[in-house]
C-alpha cells in the first residue's frame, strides 16, 4: 500500500485516494507518478538496518519511537519505515520523510497514549530533519522550477479565444473534455494532460471559433421586430395548472376564452392590447409558456422589451396589487411543448417587476430554432403527480393570494447586427486585406500579425517558420488564401504558444511575459490585456510597486469576477452545488426551488469577492457580521424581509447564526446530500478547505455511517457507535466537532432545532408548492455541542466560532496554500514553507487580511520564479 500523508493539502493532493478514480488512465498515472512521485516504495531501496544511510540521530529516534507500530508486520496507517533510505533527491522518499516530519511536528506521532516524548527530543528530530529535506527540495526547484508548464483549462481557452477573436459570446467550452480535479482544483499542472482526445477537441474548438469569426463577414439578416399583445402573449389559452397557473385578464378580472371563442375571434380581437397575460407559476416541465408563434431564425442576440408588473391572484381569479416585487427571467428553449427536448438556458438576467406597470429592456441569446419562455422566479411549480395516477393538485391559496406577474405587451428585435460590419473579428484575421486576392507576401504578413495578437509570449522569427511553410505549401497547391491562412491560424491557436503557461524563470527572456500571463490567468482567468503585455515588454513586472499596482488594477476590474467564480468553484466546491436535489419527502418546501439555489451561489460569490476587494481579515470566513441576501435568501435565513432579486449587503442581527463561509447555505448544501447531513463529511470539508487540515483517508473495511432517515436514531448516536474504538475516535476528534455544530443547519442550510424523519415524532402534513401532499415527522432535538481536540468545549455554532477564529494564522496559511495552488498550478512544497511562514509573519501585523495575502502570493518567489 502506498503511504498517505495526513496533514496538508499538498500531500493530500497526491494521495492515492484522490487519484483512485483515475485508475486506468495510464498516461495520466505515469505522469502523476513522475511528477508527484508517490509511488509505493519498491524493494530496490532495501537496506539492512545496520548499514542504513539515515543519520544516526534520526535513526535512533525512529527505533525508539516508531518501529513498534511501523515496522515488520505492523504497518499502522499503512506506513512502514522499513527500507526507508535517506536518498532525499528521490521525490518519493523525500515525501515519506516529510510525512514523518509533519506527523511528529503536529504532535500526532508518536501517539500520546503509546509513547512519551519530551519537547526537546521532538524539536531535536525536527531540527535534524528539516535542513536536509529543505535543501533537497530546493535543489530540485532551482534546477527544474516548482512545476511543469501548465496547459490552459477549457474555460481559459474559451476566454482567450473570445478575447483574441473579439467574439464575446463564443461558446466552445463544452466541446472540450472536462478537466480532472484534485480536491476540486482543476488548475493543477500535473493534472492538465493532453491526449489524442483533448488535442482533437482543441483543434475542433479552434476550427469552430475561427468559422464564427469568418462567418460574421456575411451581412447578418436584417433585425426584425415582432410585437406581441393580447392572446399572442402565450402559446395556448390555458396551461398545466389551469387558472391557478395562468389566465388572461382585463381590468384585473379574468377573461375566460375557450377554443371555440378563439376560433371566432378576428386577429385584431386576439391581439387586444387591453388584455394582460397573468402568470403565477415558475417555468418547469411540463408547464411552459412563450409568445405565440415566435421562433429565432438565426442564432444571435435579441433585444427584448416588455411592459409588466407584479400582481397577486386573489379569490375567484381576480388580480390585486402586489405587496412586493416579482423577479422574472427568460429561458431559451425549443418550442416543443411540454416535452422539452433541447437545452434550456436562462437568459436575459433577473428583472424585478414592480407593483405598478413598467417597461423593461434586456438582451437574450437564442440559437436558431429556439424561442424563449417566461420564467418567473421563486414561484411554485405545477408538477405532475405520479403517485397512483396522472393528475395535478394545487396547494391551498396563501392568505395573501398567489404571487405572480402580468405582462401587457412584449417586443422582440433581432438578431442584433454588429455595429461595424464586416466585423472586428474579421479584421483580426484578415485586417483590411481583400483576402480573395491576397498575395503570398500579404498572407505571410497577416499570419505574423495574427500570431502576434494570439501568442502568450514573444515569438522568434524561427518559430513562425512551420506555420509559414504550411501557408506557402497550400498557396502553391492552389488553396484560396483565406483557407490557407485559417489552417495556419487553427494550428497556431492549438500550439504551445497559446495553450501552455510556463513558469517565470529569472533571467530568461520571456520571464516578464510568464509573470503577466500567470497574473491574468490567476485574477481574470484569461490572457493579459494590452497594458499588462506592455509592462511585460518593457520588463517592469519584477518591480514590486509596479506589480502591486497591476495586481490592484486587476482586482478592481469587473473581470475579477472570473477569479471569484473560478476560485469559489475550485476552493469552495461550488461546482458541486447542484449535485443533489433535496429529498422531496423530507423537504417538500424546497421542491424545484432553483431560485434559492441560484441565490445561495451568488451570496457565496459576493462574499468571497468582498473578502479580497475590501481586504477583510481571514477570520471573516468563519465569522462575519454581514452577508448578501435577496428576497428568497432573507426568507431562507429567517431574516427581516428584503425585496427584490438583487443581492444586497445587509448587517446581520446580533446573535444570528449566519455570517461567514462556514454557515453559508451554498456550503452547507453541497456538504450535505439532499437527504441527510453528516457531521463527518461537513466537518472533514471544513477542516480541509477552510483550515487546511484534512483528515486522513478513512481506513479500509470500515463502512460509512448510514443515516437513519426514519428518525429512530440520531446521527450522534450512530456516530458514537461508529467511533467507539479509540483508534477511530482519535481521528474523528479532529473534524467531527465542527460537523456537530453545523447540525443546526438542514440540507439546504436553513436553521433547524429538530431533525425531520419519515416515521417518528410530531406529524406534519400539508401540500407542497407543487401540489403534492406531504407527511413528515419533526423528531429529536439537535445537539450541536462538542469538544475540540484541544479540550475546549462548546454548546453551539456561536461558541465554536469564537474558538475557531482564535486560529487566524492557520486560516491564513490555508488560504495562502489554496491561492498558491490556484495561481501557480503547483502545491506548496516543503522548501516553499519557509517563504509561506514569512508571508504570514508580514500579514500578521494587520490581522491576516485576504487582500494582503493575495498580494503576498503575487510578490513571492513561488509566483515569480526562482533563479539558480
Amino acid at each position: 500500500m502506498k503511504p498517505r500523508s495526513l496533514t496538508n493539502t499538498v500531500a493530500m493532493l497526491h494521495s492515492p485516494r484522490y487519484c483512485r478514480p483515475l485508475k486506468g488512465f495510464t498516461v495520466a498515472l505515469r505522469l502523476l507518478v513522475v511528477i508527484c512521485s508517490l509511488a509505493a516504495l519498491s524493494a530496490e531501496h532495501t537496506i539492512a538496518a545496520g548499514d542504513s544511510d539515515v543519520p544516526p540521530g534520526i535513526l535512533q529516534f525512529l527505533q525508539q519511537h516508531c518501529t513498534d507500530c511501523h515496522s515488520g508486520q505492523k504497518t499502522e496507517g499503512d506506513f512502514s519505515i522499513d527500507n526507508l533510505t535517506f536518498q532525499l533527491d528521490d521525490a518519493a522518499i523525500r515525501r515519506r520523510w516529510i510525512h514523518v516530519y509533519d506527523r511528529v511536528a503536529q504532535r500526532e506521532m508518536p501517539p500520546p497514549d503509546s509513547s512519551v516524548l519530551n519537547n526537546a527530543d521532538r524539536q531535536q528530530l525536527l531540527d535534524q530533519l528539516s535542513p536536509p529535506l529543505e535543501a533537497a527540495d530546493l535543489q530540485l526547484i532551482l534546477k527544474r522550477g516548482r512545476g511543469p508548464a501548465r496547459r490552459l483549462t477549457r474555460s481559459e481557452f474559451q476566454n482567450n479565444l473570445r478575447r483574441i477573436l473579439l467574439l464575446p459570446q463564443l461558446d466552445i467550452r463544452d466541446r472540450l473534455p472536462a478537466e480532472r480535479d484534485a480536491h476540486g482544483f482543476t488548475k493543477v499542472s500535473a493534472l492538465l494532460d493532453v491526449s489524442r482526445v483533448q488535442l482533437e477537441a482543441f483543434l475542433d474548438a479552434a476550427e469552430a471559433a475561427l468559422q464564427q469569426a469568418v462567418a460574421s463577414r456575411q451581412p447578418p439578416p436584417p433585425a426584425i421586430t415582432q410585437r406581441f399583445t393580447g392572446l399572442d402573449l402565450f402559446p395556448e389559452l390555458s396551461t398545466f395548472g389551469e387558472r391557478e397557473a395562468m389566465f388572461f385578464a382585463r381590468d384585473n378580472r379574468l377573461v375566460a376564452i375557450d377554443g371555440g371563442m378563439f376560433s371566432r375571434m378576428t386577429p385584431e380581437q386576439r391581439r387586444d392590447p387591453s388584455l394582460e397575460l397573468a402568470l403565477f407559476r415558475s417555468a418547469t416541465w411540463p408547464y411552459y409558456g412563450y409568445p405565440r408563434g415566435f421562433l429565432a431564425k438565426e442564432s444571435g442576440a435579441y433585444r427584448l422589451r416588455f411592459a409588466g408588473r407584479a400582481v397577486r391572484q386573489v379569490r375567484d381569479f381576480r388580480l390585486a396589487v402586489a405587496l412586493e416585487p416579482a423577479p422574472l427571467s427568460f429561458r431559451a428553449r425549443q418550442p416543443s411543448g411540454p416535452d422539452v427536448s433541447g437545452d434550456v438556458r436562462e437568459t436575459g438576467g433577473w428583472m424585478d417587476l414592480q407593483p405598478e406597470l413598467r417597461e423593461f429592456e434586456t438582451t437574450i441569446q437564442l440559437r436558431a430554432g429556439e424561442t424563449f419562455e417566461y420564467s418567473p422566479l421563486g414561484l411554485p411549480v405545477p408538477f405532475i403527480r405520479t403517485d397512483g395516477g396522472f393528475f395535478y393538485d394545487y396547494p391551498p391559496m396563501p392568505a395573501e393570494g398567489h404571487r405572480g406577474v402580468a405582462i401587457r405587451w412584449l417586443e422582440v428585435t433581432g438578431p442584433l447586427r454588429e455595429p461595424d460590419w464586416p466585423g472586428a473579428s474579421h479584421r483580426v484575421l484578415f485586417d483590411d486585406v481583400a483576402i480573395e486576392k491576397a498575395t503570398a507576401a500579404e498572407a505571410e504578413r497577416l499570419f505574423r500579425r495574427f500570431a502576434a495578437i494570439a501568442t502568450l509570449r514573444p515569438l522568434t522569427d524561427a518559430s513562425h517558420a512551420p506555420f509559414l511553410s504550411l501557408i506557402r505549401q497550400k498557396l502553391a497547391a492552389g488553396t484560396p488564401p483565406a483557407t490557407a491562412l485559417l489552417a495556419a491560424f487553427q494550428a497556431f491557436l492549438c500550439s504551445p504558444h497559446c495553450l501552455y503557461l510556463t513558469e517565470p524563470r529569472p533571467g530568461e527572456p520571456d520571464q516578464h511575459f510568464a509573470i503577466a500571463s500567470r497574473l491574468s490567468h490567476f485574477l481574470w482567468n484569461q490572457r493579459p490585456d494590452e497594458r499588462l503585455f506592455q509592462l511585460a515588454a518593457t520588463g517592469q513586472l519584477r518591480d514590486p510597486d509596479a506589480l502591486r499596482s497591476e495586481t490592484s488594477r486587476l482586482l478592481a476590474d469587473p473581470m475579477f469576477s472570473h477569479f471569484v467564480q473560478g476560485f469559489a468553484d475550485e476552493w469552495l466546491d461550488l461546482r458541486r452545488l447542484r449535485r443533489d436535489l433535496p429529498d422531496e419527502r423530507l423537504y417538500p418546501e424546497y421542491r424545484r426551488d432553483d431560485y434559492l439555489v441560484d441565490s445561495m451561489e451568488l451570496e457565496t460569490r459576493n462574499f468571497l469577492g468582498t473578502l479580497f476587494t475590501e481586504n477583510l481579515p481571514v477570520a471573516t470566513t468563519i465569522h462575519a457580521d454581514f452577508t448578501f441576501v435577496n428576497d428568497r435568501l432573507a426568507r431562507h435565513y429567517d431574516l427581516p424581509r428584503v425585496s427584490g432579486s438583487k443581492l444586497q449587503r445587509i448587517s446581520l442581527p446580533p446573535g444570528s447564526p449566519f455570517g461567514g463561509l462556514l454557515t453559508q447555505a451554498a456550503i452547507l448544501k453541497h456538504t450535505a446530500n439532499g437527504t441527510s447531513t453528516s457531521p463527518v463529511l461537513r466537518g472533514a470539508w471544513v477542516m480541509e478547505k477552510l483550515f487546511g487540515q484534512p483528515p486522513g483517508a478513512p481506513p479500509k473495511n470500515i463502512p460509512s455511517v448510514e443515516p437513519d432517515i426514519r428518525g429512530a436514531q440520531s446521527i450522534r448516536d450512530l456516530l458514537n457507535k461508529h467511533t467507539a474504538a479509540p483508534e477511530c475516535a482519535r481521528c474523528h476528534a479532529k473534524f467531527d466537532h465542527v460537523g456537530f455544530a453545523l447540525e443546526n443547519f438542514d440540507v439546504m442550510g436553513a436553521w433547524r432545532d429538530r431533525y425531520r424523519g419519515l416515521e417518528r415524532g410530531e406529524k406534519v402534513t400539508g401540500i407542497d408548492p407543487a401540489g403534492h401532499p406531504y407527511t413528515y415527522f419533526v423528531g429529536s432535538e439537535v445537539d450541536a455541542s462538542g469538544t475540540l481536540p484541544s479540550g475546549e468545549s462548546f454548546q453551539d455554532i456561536q461558541q465554536l466560532r469564537k474558538l475557531l477564529i482564535a486560529q487566524p494564522r492557520q486560516l491564513a496559511r490555508n488560504l495562502l496554500h489554496q491561492l498558491i495552488l490556484y495561481s501557480t498550478g503547483t502545491p506548496v512544497s516543503f522548501a516553499d514553507r519557509r517563504e509561506v511562514e514569512l508571508m504570514l509573519d508580514a500579514a500578521a501585523t494587520d490581522g491576516f487580511r485576504a487582500g494582503d495575502l493575495l498580494h503576498a502570493v503575487v510578490q513571492s518567489s513561488l509566483f515569480l520564479g526562482r533563479g539558480e
Partner: protein, 436 residues
C-alpha cells in the same frame, strides 16, 4: 473526464510519412490489411459489439419484471417469449439514472444519464456509444451507427456528443444499406479525404512547432510537452485509420437491398428491418456499436399485426389509466416487441463468428427504456434486459426498488466488457460484477 489512448493491439506500427502520402494520393490497397491480419492472429478472440435499444415509452412493468430473483426465477409473461434464450440474457430490476426526472424529456438521457433534463441550464452530456468510440478510437468504417424507428430526428436521439449536441438518427434502411455496402461517389470521397489531409497537415505543423518550442524549455517542461507530441502521433494514426477506411472497398452485402417502409403504422415491420440492418452492420464488420431509438412517442395509431390496429396513438395508449381495453392492447404491443427481440437473438445466434462462436456471443444487446412506467411518467425501476456479449447470464438481478442502483453501473460493466479499462461513466458508483 479523461480517456485512455487507443488499445495497443490496434496500434499498428504504421510509417507516418507513408500514411500521409496515402492521404493525398489514392492508394487502392491499404496498408491496414496486413496489420489487421497480424493483429487478428495475435488476438484470437473476436471483438465485442454493442447494440443499444430504447423504446421511449417502455413496457408494462408488471408483465416484464419477474416476481422472484436469481437463476431460478420464474419468467414473467413477456420473458416467456425469450424462453429459448434464457441462459443468454439477464433481466434487471431496480436500476435507473439518479436524478434523471422530467417525464418524456428523459428519453434523450437514456445513454447519457444527464441529470434533470428540464431544469434551467440543462445541457446533455456524452452518450455511452460516443464515449466508447472516443476512448477506443475508430476501428471500423463507421465508428457507430445511430438508428431510429418512427423517430422525431430533430428532437430525439440516443446518441449525443461530448458537448451535448444531438447526433441525428438514421431512419432509412435503404440509405443505410447504401452507406454500408455501396461505394460512395468519387467527389464525396475526395472531399472527405481532403478534410483528413487538412488535419494531417496541421498536425505536421504542430509537430515541428512543438519541437522548436521544446528546445527553449527546461527538462520538466520538455517532458510535459512530450505528451503533446504523443497526442499528435496518436491523432495522426487515427486520421490514417479513417483515411484507410475511406479508400477501402466496402464489404459485399449478404442480403438484398431493403426498401424503406414509410408508413409509421407498420411499426413492427419497421423495427424488424432496423434490427436486420444492425445485424448486417455487425456481420460485415462495418461498425461495432449501434444505437436504436424506438420512438413510440412519435408513433400514431399503428398495426399490432395484420388483423389488429391500436385504438389510440402509442403515447395515448401508454397513458392507459388502467383502462382494460388499453392495457390489453399494450400487452399485445409489448409481446410483439419481445418477439422481434427473439427474432434478433435467433438471427445473431445463427451467424458464425470465429471458432465455435456466434455473433450473439460477441454482441451485447441492451434493451430498455427511460420510463419505468409510462402511464405515470415514472423514471425509476427501468425495464432493462441485456443479452449476449459473452457475459454471465441466465438470471434476474434484482436491485432495491426504492433506492435504485445507477443504470450507469451496468454501462461501466458493458464498457469494460467492450475493452475499456475504466471504473466510471457518468453517474456510476460501481459495476455489476455478477455479469463478469
Amino acid at each position: 473526464m479523461l480517456t485512455r489512448s487507443p488499445r495497443r493491439f490496434w496500434r499498428f506500427p504504421l510509417n507516418r510519412r507513408r500514411v500521409l502520402r496515402g492521404l493525398g494520393v489514392a492508394i487502392t490497397l491499404p496498408v491496414l490489411d496486413c496489420h489487421r491480419s497480424s493483429a487478428a492472429t495475435r488476438t484470437p478472440t473476436q471483438p465485442r459489439r454493442m447494440l443499444l435499444i430504447s423504446n421511449n415509452l417502455g413496457v408494462l412493468p408488471k408483465n416484464f419484471f419477474p416476481a422472484d430473483a436469481g437463476t431460478d426465477y420464474t419468467p414473467s409473461l413477456y420473458l416467456q417469449e425469450l424462453a429459448e434464450f434464457r441462459n443468454q440474457f439477464t433481466v434487471f430490476s431496480g436500476l435507473s439514472h439518479p436524478a434523471v426526472t422530467g417525464g418524456h424529456s428523459t428519453e434523450n438521457c437514456f445513454l447519457t444519464a444527464a441529470r434533470d433534463p428540464t431544469r434551467s441550464g440543462f445541457r446533455n452530456s456524452i452518450s455511452l456509444d460516443q464515449f466508447a468510440v472516443e476512448s477506443l478510437g475508430q476501428q471500423t468504417r463507421f465508428p457507430t451507427l445511430n438508428l431510429g424507428v418512427n423517430i422525431d430526428k430533430a428532437n430525439r436521439s440516443l446518441s449525443w456528443s461530448r458537448d451535448g449536441v444531438l447526433l441525428p438518427a438514421d431512419d432509412s434502411p435503404a440509405k443505410l444499406f447504401q452507406r454500408l455496402f455501396l461505394q460512395g461517389d468519387a467527389q464525396q470521397l475526395d472531399l472527405r479525404l481532403k478534410r483528413l489531409q487538412e488535419r494531417a497537415s496541421i498536425l505536421d505543423v504542430l509537430r515541428d512547432d512543438v519541437r522548436l518550442f521544446q528546445a527553449g524549455l527546461g527538462t520538466t517542461d520538455r517532458s510535459r510537452l512530450d505528451q503533446y507530441l504523443t497526442s499528435i502521433r496518436d491523432l495522426e494514426q487515427n486520421l490514417a485509420t479513417s483515411a484507410e477506411w475511406e479508400q477501402k472497398p466496402k464489404p459485399a452485402p449478404t442480403a438484398q437491398p431493403p426498401q424503406d417502409i414509410p408508413d409509421p403504422a407498420r411499426f413492427f415491420p419497421k423495427i424488424r428491418l432496423m434490427l436486420d440492418m444492425a445485424r448486417l452492420a455487425f456481420e460485415s464488420e462495418s461498425t461495432r456499436i449501434v444505437t436504436l431509438m424506438i420512438d413510440g412517442f412519435a408513433t400514431p395509431v399503428f398495426q399490432i399485426d395484420d388483423q389488429r390496429r391500436t385504438g389510440d396513438g402509442y403515447h395515448g395508449l401508454s397513458h392507459h389509466g388502467q383502462s382494460s381495453q388499453k392495457l390489453q392492447e399494450l400487452e399485445q404491443v409489448d409481446l410483439r416487441q419481445m418477439q422481434e427481440l427473439k427474432q434478433l437473438f435467433t438471427a445473431l445466434a445463427a451467424t458464425q463468428a470465429g471458432d465455435n462462436h456466434n455473433l450473439l456471443d460477441h454482441t451485447m444487446v441492451l434493451f430498455g427504456s427511460n420510463l419505468g412506467d409510462a402511464n405515470v411518467h415514472n423514471c425509476t425501476n427501468l425495464p432493462i434486459l441485456l443479452a449476449g456479449g459473452g457475459l454471465m447470464h441466465g438470471r434476474h438481478l434484482a436491485f432495491d426498488g426504492l433506492r435504485n442502483t445507477p443504470l450507469c453501473n451496468l454501462f461501466v460493466t458493458m464498457l469494460r466488457n467492450f475493452g475499456l479499462e475504466l471504473d466510471q461513466f457518468a453517474s456510476s458508483t460501481g459495476m455489476i460484477s455478477e455479469l463478469l
